[in-house]
């Protein structure tokens, strides 16, 4: 029997581009860029100058975006995986960052509030932070995977307790890390003009890219997220994979925590990474990933994270105060979810069809 392959449907380059999910964050980025270009072209200026600690570094709005958006971008990696595998989101990442950061400070300062020198090597502190964050990720994961509690509710527990646990770890003290080395992670390494957080973020992307390339993570996570029953019948263990996604998110949390505490060489338990969970979920949604799980694109989420930072910086430029920011972001979220709601989409497409048929009808009437 000859294999009659139907010729692939001829789609134009544009149609194919628009069907890809990365088009959403790119479009958002373009809108923001154009908006800034019109309102204030100097927004995009980048200068190369000496900073307060005497390093020659790049600075400007764009640099501050890639600098400050890095923690979010790193979290977006893990959040995308959790969303894809479990069909829910982790709302405890901010609290978990506080815990991991607090644990790192505890190791670095050895429990005293302002030691004169580092009590342990930074790498040890980082490893402890990672382990702690992985532990709490696993805690969330167990509740979700084995106790079948909805992810957002299960992570509510850590959301409630996280900041309290963080301040308990350091006995309520706000230790100051001595020395300059530790600040490098949150600012600049001498001689490198690019902010370190961005470099760390890039390192994370490379790692996750390699993981994707050399393991079956993507296939497994997507299978579990799309059809758990089929995944099980093909020998996967859906519980284990969900748990794994939460543990990976834990690692991302630890890296983000390192940057966060390094920025100020200290910690403020109630403020550190506040509301970052909202931004991380928004980044995933903005990246065009379905919040109900399934197929995902980490690249799009990461881009989404930087778009959010772009939006934040733009709002700052418009002199919106930091505390009022959530109100504006909330509006963006609502617009986004309303536009992507199936019922709304259906209605819109029906409306579009009506308009189109109306048009052709009118044209044919003319003819």
């Amino acid at each position: 029997m000859p294999n009659k392959m139907p010729s692939p449907p001829k789609t134009s380059f544009w149609a194919r581009l628009f069907s890809h999910q990365i088009v959403i964050p790119i479009a958002a980025l373009l809108i923001l860029a154009i908006f800034n270009l019109i309102s204030d072209p100097t927004f995009f200026r980048i200068v190369f100058k000496e900073n307060s600690s005497g390093n020659k570094v790049l600075s400007g709005n764009l640099i501050s975006i890639i600098d400050n958006g890095s923690e979010l971008a790193i979290l977006a990696i893990g959040m995308t995986l959790v969303t894809a595998a479990s069909g829910g989101q982790d709302i405890s990442v901010g609290a978990a960052i506080a815990i991991a950061g607090s644990a790192m400070l505890r190791i670095l300062c050895g429990g005293s509030s302002s030691p004169t020198e580092l009590q342990s090597p930074i790498i040890l502190a980082f490893i402890v932070g990672v382990l702690v964050a992985m532990f709490f990720g696993a805690f969330n994961g167990v509740l979700v995977a084995f106790f079948k509690i909805q992810p957002m509710v299960a992570t509510l527990i850590l959301f409630t307790a996280g900041r309290s646990i963080a301040s308990w770890i350091n006995n309520g003290e706000l230790p100051n890390v001595p020395g300059k080395e530790f600040t490098y992670f949150g600012s600049y390494i001498p001689g490198v003009p690019v902010p370190t957080p961005f470099l760390i973020a890039i390192a994370c992307f490379i790692v996750i890219f390699l993981v994707m390339k050399f393991t079956n993570l993507r296939l497994y996570v997507q299978s579990v997220g799309i059809n758990e029953k089929t995944a099980r019948l093909n020998g996967l263990n859906p519980e284990l994979i969900k748990l794994m996604s939460f543990v990976i998110l834990g690692i991302c949390v630890a890296v983000a925590a390192l940057i966060k505490v390094s920025r100020i060489s200290s910690i403020n338990y109630s403020v550190i990474a506040k509301d970052i969970e909202m931004d991380a979920i928004l980044a995933v949604a903005l990246g065009g990933n379905a919040l109900s799980g399934g197929k995902f694109s980490i690249g799009a989420s990461v881009l989404g994270a930087y778009v959010i930072q772009f939006l934040t910086t733009t709002l700052y430029k418009l002199e919106v105060s930091a505390v009022a920011l959530p109100a504006y972001k909330a509006v963006v979220v609502i617009i986004l979810v309303v536009m992507s709601a199936p019922t709304v989409r259906e209605k819109l497409s029906r409306l579009g069809k009506k308009l189109r048929s109306g048009k052709t009808g009118a044209e044919s009437a003319k003819a």
Binding site: I149, Q150, V153, T160, I165, V337
Partner: protein, 352 residues
């Protein structure tokens, strides 16, 4: 003794309805905790006023938790209530202090804000089928942001007529105590407590004896079935969110009456406390199970354990968060186990 009883409850969950079983557990836990407090910590807990103070400070939380319970019974969740509370308190404060408005109009503003949140969120959840968590998360951030937009800094209210209302204490008969000097000290509560208790009574009546109330349970129990049985699922879901929003508005007013100021930092984490209280009070996250009386005891248990924790000597601020989370975790796991057991039991009854 208590430990001995516990497994008994879990072993034979078949005899009681889920709602009654979980409510009973909560009330028993509360009573046992209170007895332990009286026996081991004595001072303070013996006086009824201690308990009344707990209720006074948490009256707003009782109202918020009631609204939360309704939404959760209906199978949803609303995490905007804390933000709405802060926003209402701020608006009332600004209205009275800066604009010289009356307390009455402030109340109307509060109710309006709550209702508006309820209607918008209810519409998005019920009619556009968007996940309640996402919608109300956005609602929470919107409310928090709006609070600072209304007024960036904390604002205290010194208006006299308002202070008169704020400081009104109502004497509770029979519960007064005699202090060391032999002077009778009457036991008192704030107005907010009366409001909260009236709301508890009204909602208890509604959930038990009205069609709308029972519809919440039906929808939460099984959406598909409820529809087949002829319930308007969308409208029921919508009403649940509107009620919750309205109650958040009332909660905001009560909170304002208790604290007498507006601040962006007010009622922070109140949504989580409300959810935790509801869950501890026996409301199931999966919907269909819950009871307002249970919720009342949930709030009280939460308040009690906080004051026990602090009087045991764990007075550091962080213990509060940790104990709430620990309690929440335990109750969530109990619920999850009960659901699993029930499923198994049903399968065994139905299968083979």
């Amino acid at each position: 003794m208590f430990r001995k009883n516990m497994p008994g409850f879990l072993k034979k969950p078949g005899k009681m309805t889920d709602t009654n079983l979980l409510t009973t557990i909560t009330i028993v836990v509360f009573v046992v905790m209170y007895l332990c407090a009286i026996i081991f910590l004595k001072e303070g807990f013996l006086k009824p006023q201690t308990m009344l103070n707990l209720i006074s400070t948490n009256s707003y939380l009782i109202i918020l938790a009631c609204g939360m319970s309704i939404v959760m019974i209906n199978g949803g969740i609303d995490i905007s209530v804390g933000g709405v509370t802060a926003l209402v308190a701020m608006c009332c404060a600004v209205h009275i202090e800066n604009n010289g408005g009356s307390f009455f109009t402030a109340v109307l503003i509060g109710l309006g804000i709550g209702l508006a949140f309820g209607v918008v969120q209810g519409f998005l959840v019920a009619y556009l089928d968007i996940q309640p968590f996402i919608v109300t998360l956005a609602g929470m951030f919107f409310a928090r942001g709006m609070t600072t937009i209304v007024n960036k800094d904390p604002i205290n209210v010194y208006n006299e007529s308002f202070m008169a209302i704020k400081d009104t204490k109502i004497t509770v008969p029979l519960l007064g105590t005699t202090n060391k000097k032999g002077i009778y000290v009457p036991a008192t509560i704030e107005i907010g407590v009366i409001i909260a208790l009236v709301i508890v009574a009204v909602l208890f009546f509604m959930l038990k004896w009205t069609k709308t109330g029972r519809s919440f349970y039906a929808v939460g129990g099984n959406k598909q079935s409820a529809m087949m049985l002829g319930i308007n699922v969308k409208r029921t879901t919508f009403i649940s969110h509107v009620l919750c929003g309205l109650l958040a508005g009332i909660g905001g007013i009560v909170y304002f009456m208790h604290i007498g100021s507006g601040s962006p930092a007010h009622a922070s984490g109140a949504e989580m406390s409300a959810i935790a209280s509801s869950i501890i009070g026996g409301t199931m996250l999966t919907g269909g199970v819950g009871n307002i009386i249970g919720t009342l005891f949930g709030v009280l248990s939460l308040a009690l354990i906080q004051s026990i924790v602090s009087s045991v000597g764990l007075d550091k601020a962080w213990w509060t968060g940790i104990t709430i989370a620990a309690m929440l975790c335990i109750f969530l796991i109990i619920q999850s186990i009960i659901i699993a057991r029930r499923k198994k039991a049903n399968k065994a009854a139905g299968g083979t």
